[in-house]
Symmetry: C2
Subunit: 509 residues, 2 copies
């Protein structure tokens, strides 16, 4: 246990192991796991907890150790086994930044926590505070809601031939439903009016197409919220030049990674931004900045990123009124020109350290900003706690029919025509070779001389139109290819789902 | 043939079907295929060709029809069969914008040309012209070199289960070598000092890792050019806020799509920007703006985007001196405040139409800008024409050993433990079940209760450590799974290449 921990109130008794999240107005304290982290972490956590206590937050902190000393004690991911118990018990985690040791063998604590606990939604508000914090985009107030678990980040990569490497992009219906619902619920409970979906579904019609379709489907349940969609390249360009026109953006993992970094930089508030990583079971709240070891122990660090993360946490645990009190007092502090050194500028009246900044916020509790827009938070609907997206319900299975198979072959010495001739001799009854592509471009039949070919061939075998095959036909095909020494590196079955084609046609097909 | 075509000089006789690209100083004209396109296309093409003629460009245009009337004549990709002959003959294509008809059944002409002719490099200079054209980023002068054929854009997508859709990201060694070489050759022949590689190789260690490794490998052949690498999320944020610090950026297809749109918007010069799509056989040059049907026929369109594309073309066909003359006269025209309506602003002295703008550029041929930096172009080395990247040489094959297989299973009713038990009963001698993951997260052995599982399971079977298997072992495994009614949706073989693991470990493995 960390010596700087502040016990705000006694933990609530829990009978069934789930946290007690009492309605607003109740005095029951919500257990929250807290980690003070490394570098400036302990200082900004202390300041944050002081503000929370003064504002009347009803939380009962349980402190765990993470970061440098835990890595040093031999835990390769920076967190001890027993700390998971606390996270599973409280289901709410307020986390200060840590220092991941350099060198191999250490795993990112954030990735470990996110993957282990299934934190599927990353929420990052990017707000500018002009004129009090310099920015080129004064009116900016955008929230990026990023899918956090799937897409190319599932980490499934294979080297398939001498020349070709592959990574799988997986997009799933539950993943899409949850993140879309999260975005619309967030918009509703935060008084926002529009959710923009950013995808590349003009190219990736099936994966990004699913994300977009589910966005529309879930969004239709929120008629009070406007829906908008951008192709991500144009959307990113628009975000980079006119961020003021966006409100909430929901997007798959990779695009979200890029867009949220762009938005944070543009707002000029990387040091002020909080974030949430929310899952079905647990939610984690943290600043987006690092542990800044060079500033540690000097009492000068800006606690705002962690404080605004704590504000997000308070909304999550249904203490919206307290969250709003803190956020508005914080905005007023900025306006009053009481700034830590990192945001010192022409509007600074007094440069203060971590503690004095926290004190200034506490002094302003109950006040609202005069120039900046005050915030108002509503508690999320109780029925949807801990996370509205938890309610994914699997649909009845579609009628799935197997109609063919893509067989991928490694061969550096062949040509499209030679390969086709060979495969056609080998194919079993009931399957015909329909096409061969190389890097997605059709090279047989009717290939073009200009197409450069790698050693990686995708060979599509299909049943006659309207017919289906059994898996045994694929086994028989593979068996024949194996006997003929064809180097099969992968297969993808071709199926229809309720009669609809479940695979893309080849380019030029 | 389009009536507005201007025959600048008689075509050169070609004896072997390849274009005659004469050394600078020679009077021989280079055959170039030209398309006037739709909307404002014919006007800006006429203006461009007039400037080229006045500057002494030695080109012999062959005009083809593309776009609206070709679509209307029943060619679904907007280009007639016979036009390919011209492109294959001249190998150089200067293309005005076209209008792709709305509605289904029409294919993008650009995608068709790019894929058909294998135009693997997309080159897009994004320059700001402050104070003459308003921009927030006065010092910006960045060139995005984007790989154009592979990555997720190969279009290989499969719906695999009721819940899960997949798109393949393919990154290849020839693709990486060519685009890296293109970027460094471009930097060298355009007097640029730094090439920045943007990838996400902290996550995609194999695919983006290859791109990065090849970048370093090829870059080492260019000791005069500085190398730099950014993780793409931070790099995109940096580009969006401090584009001045970049020179040439080289990046895979998807990131390049996003980054080049950001850069063009930031520069404030979308209407002024040219681009090149360069392949082993053919290169295509075009403005990045569209056909602007609402402006057509009014003589007001800005020809700058197409003119700067033609400048890129002239460098490509080794008429660098002429290219520089035109580019510098164009910069001087901007400086002199002679602007078309689209860039009218406080530095405009005279607002002109398309023709007068071209005339103003022609009047300034031989002059250089005084405020903006003049350009100087060098002809690319003749030995490397038509494209230095054409020289990809396949390496000797690695020693490849098959050590296992990932089998992907569709099952909505199982659990990790049940599935593992079933698969372990079915596996043949010599293969053991090592792990099961769901969306990349390990769920067996030692899964966690928090991990949400879709109906899509990746089951890794491996040979004993140090041992290899034959393809027949995989066939036997699939045969047993099929007999037991396991719904196998795909396989990926696990191989080592020269003893090095050719597959990623599971998260949590």
């Amino acid at each position: 246990m960390n010596a700087t921990a502040i016990e705000l109130q006694a933990p609530t008794t829990r009978h069934d192991g789930t946290p007690d999240r009492s309605p607003p107005g109740s005095a029951a304290a919500v257990p929250v796991t807290i980690a003070h982290g490394d570098g400036i972490g302990p200082e900004i956590m202390d300041a944050t907890l002081r503000v929370l206590a003064a504002a009347g937050a009803r939380i009962a902190p349980e402190t765990i150790d993470i970061g440098a000393k835990v890595y040093a004690a031999g835990h390769s991911s920076g967190i001890a086994e027993e700390s998971w118990d606390s996270l599973r018990r409280t289901r709410v985690f307020l986390k200060a930044p840590i220092t991941t040791p350099a060198g191999g063998g250490f795993k990112s604590l954030n990735v470990t926590v996110r993957k282990t606990l299934g934190l599927h939604a990353n929420v990052r508000p990017c707000t500018s505070y002009a004129p009090f914090v310099p920015t080129r985009h004064p009116g900016m107030d955008v929230v990026i809601v990023r899918e956090n678990e799937e897409d190319l980040y599932a980490g499934i990569e294979h080297r398939q031939t001498d020349e070709v490497y592959q990574c799988l992009k997986l997009i799933t219906r539950p993943g899409c439903e949850r993140i879309a619902r999260h975005a619309f619920e967030y918009a509703r409970s935060h008084g926002r009016r529009k959710v923009t979906c950013m995808v590349k579904d003009n190219i990736m019609k099936m994966t990004d197409g699913l994300f977009h379709a589910v966005f529309e489907e879930i969004g239709a349940e929120y008629p009070d919220i406007e829906r908008e969609r951008y192709i991500v390249d144009i959307g990113a360009a628009r975000l980079a030049t006119r961020p003021e026109q966006f409100d909430v953006i929901v997007t798959p993992n990779l695009y979200g990674d890029i867009l949220s970094d762009i938005a944070a930089e543009l707002a000029g508030s990387v040091g002020l931004a909080g974030s949430a990583n929310v899952g079905e079971h647990v939610a984690m709240f943290e600043a987006i900045h690092g542990s800044a070891p060079d500033l540690a122990g000097r009492g000068v660090a800006n606690p705002s990123g962690l404080l605004l993360s704590a504000v997000m946490m308070l909304v999550h645990i249904r203490q919206a009124r307290v969250a709003g009190r803190i956020h508005n007092a914080w905005l007023r502090t900025l306006e009053d020109g009481i700034h830590t050194a990192d945001i010192r500028g022409e509007h600074t009246r007094r440069t203060v350290g971590t503690d004095d900044f926290a004190r200034a916020v506490i002094e302003r509790l109950g006040e609202s900003p005069r120039v900046l827009r005050p915030v108002t938070y509503r508690d999320p609907a109780p029925a949807r706690l801990p996370n509205p997206a938890a309610g994914y319900r699997r649909r009845p299975a579609a009628r799935k029919a197997l109609v063919g198979v893509d067989v991928f072959v490694h061969d550096a010495r062949t040509s499209p025509d030679l390969l086709a001739e060979r495969l056609r001799r080998l194919r079993p009854e009931g399957l015909s070779l329909q096409m061969i592509t190389n890097r997605g471009v059709k090279v047989w039949p009717g290939g073009l001389p200009e197409t450069f070919c790698t050693d990686h061939w995708r060979c599509r075998f299909v049943a006659p139109a309207g017919a289906t095959i059994g898996h045994d036909a694929i086994v028989e095909l593979l068996s024949r290819l194996t006997r003929a020494d064809v180097d099969v590196i992968k297969t993808e079955t071709l199926c229809t789902f309720d009669g609809e084609r479940g695979y893309a046609l080849g380019q030029g097909q």
